[in-house]
């Protein structure tokens, strides 16, 4: 897609990132919150790759590899925490999991 200006990709990734932020703020289900975090990470990946193409440099893609590795580790741990939480509390509603708050 050489005909598409890089700015369009940046705007698209800004929109996707914002949708992810909204999801993190309004959802009560921690699994969906995790999905929204993935959405935000992917929006950032799109920025890296679009700018990597713009400056004709491979470094943009190198960052994405590390973002993906961290995202995979984060999801594995996060879902492990959710399962452990469900086991001890029988619920995963974010509003009822407030032990650390007080």
């Amino acid at each position: 897609m050489l005909g598409v200006p890089t700015e369009y990709f940046l705007v698209l990734s800004g929109i996707l990132f914002t949708i992810g932020v909204i999801g993190v703020l309004i959802k009560r289900n921690p699994i969906v919150i995790f999905m929204c975090i993935e959405l935000m990470l992917n929006a950032v990946n799109l920025t890296f790759i679009a700018l990597g193409r713009h400056f004709v440099h491979v470094n943009g893609q190198m960052y994405v590899i590390f973002v993906m590795a961290v995202a995979a580790a984060e999801v594995a741990i996060g879902l492990g925490i959710i399962v452990a939480l469900f086991r001890s509390k029988e619920t995963i509603n974010i509003d009822e999991v407030n032990l650390m708050k007080y």
Binding site: R28, N29, M35, I77
Partner: protein, 296 residues
């Protein structure tokens, strides 16, 4: 007026990705959210593919759409959260405040974008991954094959290129034996001579290059470019077409080869992060085992 097809494809795909992202947030059923997230990941993989990031696109499908989504669906099914009424969304102030914050966020992004002077113009046809038309020693992938091809000069293009080289280098090439590995000296000699050819006058001549299969990029540049400004780039691309396997090609920015070279290049900062990532993943494995252990 010519219609810009790639722009139209971009807008269709962007619409799908924004729509599926909105549905991830709007759906009450987490299984449906997960499925729309898969749609979003696939569309992003297509974007990566069109942005010359082939390897990342493949990894996106394998890691995100494959591994991570299976993990999500598995946990949703395991905890039996599929029922839409399982989690009531709480009303109240949260939704309007979140949307107001989002509006503030995206308008500050827009403000920041309008305050900057914009991106510098991109190089329309990249000569190499780092933008330079010149060869480095690492660009010569198969030095033995390159030396052999130059020495034999089997087709008019290679014979012409050899004849343009410095007589000393020509003598060294003539003395080269197939059974030896080319010396470091010979490799840098060949690199220097190729760079001299890049620097020199336009190498193209229809008759000379009749037996060479020109890439589409080269043909496009030959037809469109002003011969004065793009001479070096044309020469570089022509040399790549004459030795398609022996030297690095410029359109390989997102290939496994380029990424692997950058990853394990001691001059670039990626090797240590790569090793640290393996430690991170190890910690992740230990962490999830500890979390999953049944207590007392």
């Amino acid at each position: 007026m010519s219609f810009n097809w790639s722009l139209m494809v971009f807008f269709i795909l962007a619409g799908i990705s924004v729509g599926s992202a909105l549905l991830v947030v709007a759906n009450r059923n987490p299984v449906r959210s997960a499925l729309f997230l898969v749609v979003n990941f696939f569309v992003l993989a297509i974007f990566f593919l069109t942005l010359s990031a082939q390897f990342i696109a493949a990894v996106q499908v394998i890691v995100y759409a494959g591994a991570i989504m299976v993990l999500f669906l598995f946990v949703i099914m395991l905890l039996n959260l599929g029922a839409p009424e399982a989690l009531k969304e709480r009303g109240g102030l949260q939704m309007p405040v979140a949307i107001a914050l989002a509006v503030v966020f995206i308008s500050s992004l827009g403000l920041a974008g309008s305050l900057t002077t914009g991106l510098p113009p991109t190089r329309a046809t990249p000569a190499t991954v780092d933008g330079s038309p010149y060869f480095t020693n690492r660009d010569i992938l198969l030095p033995a094959d390159l030396a052999q091809k130059l020495r034999n000069g089997a087709d008019p293009a290679t014979a012409y290129l050899r004849d343009q080289m410095h007589p000393e280098v020509q003598a060294k090439l003539a003395a080269y034996r197939d059974s030896d590995a080319p010396s470091v000296e010979l490799i840098s000699d060949m690199k220097r001579e190729l760079n001299r050819l890049v620097d020199g006058p336009n190498l193209y001549d229809p008759q000379r290059f009749s037996s060479v299969r020109l890439s589409r990029e080269t043909q496009k540049l030959l037809n469109s470019a002003s011969p004065m400004t793009d001479r070096k780039r044309i020469n570089r691309l022509l040399l790549q077409d004459v030795f398609p396997l022996e030297i690095t090609k410029s359109d390989q920015m997102g290939s496994v080869e380029t990424i692997g070279k950058a990853m394990f290049d001691a001059k670039q900062p990626w090797l240590l992060p790569f090793e640290l990532t393996s430690i991170l993943l190890l910690v992740g494995i230990v962490g999830s085992v500890v979390l999953a252990r049944r207590r007392g």
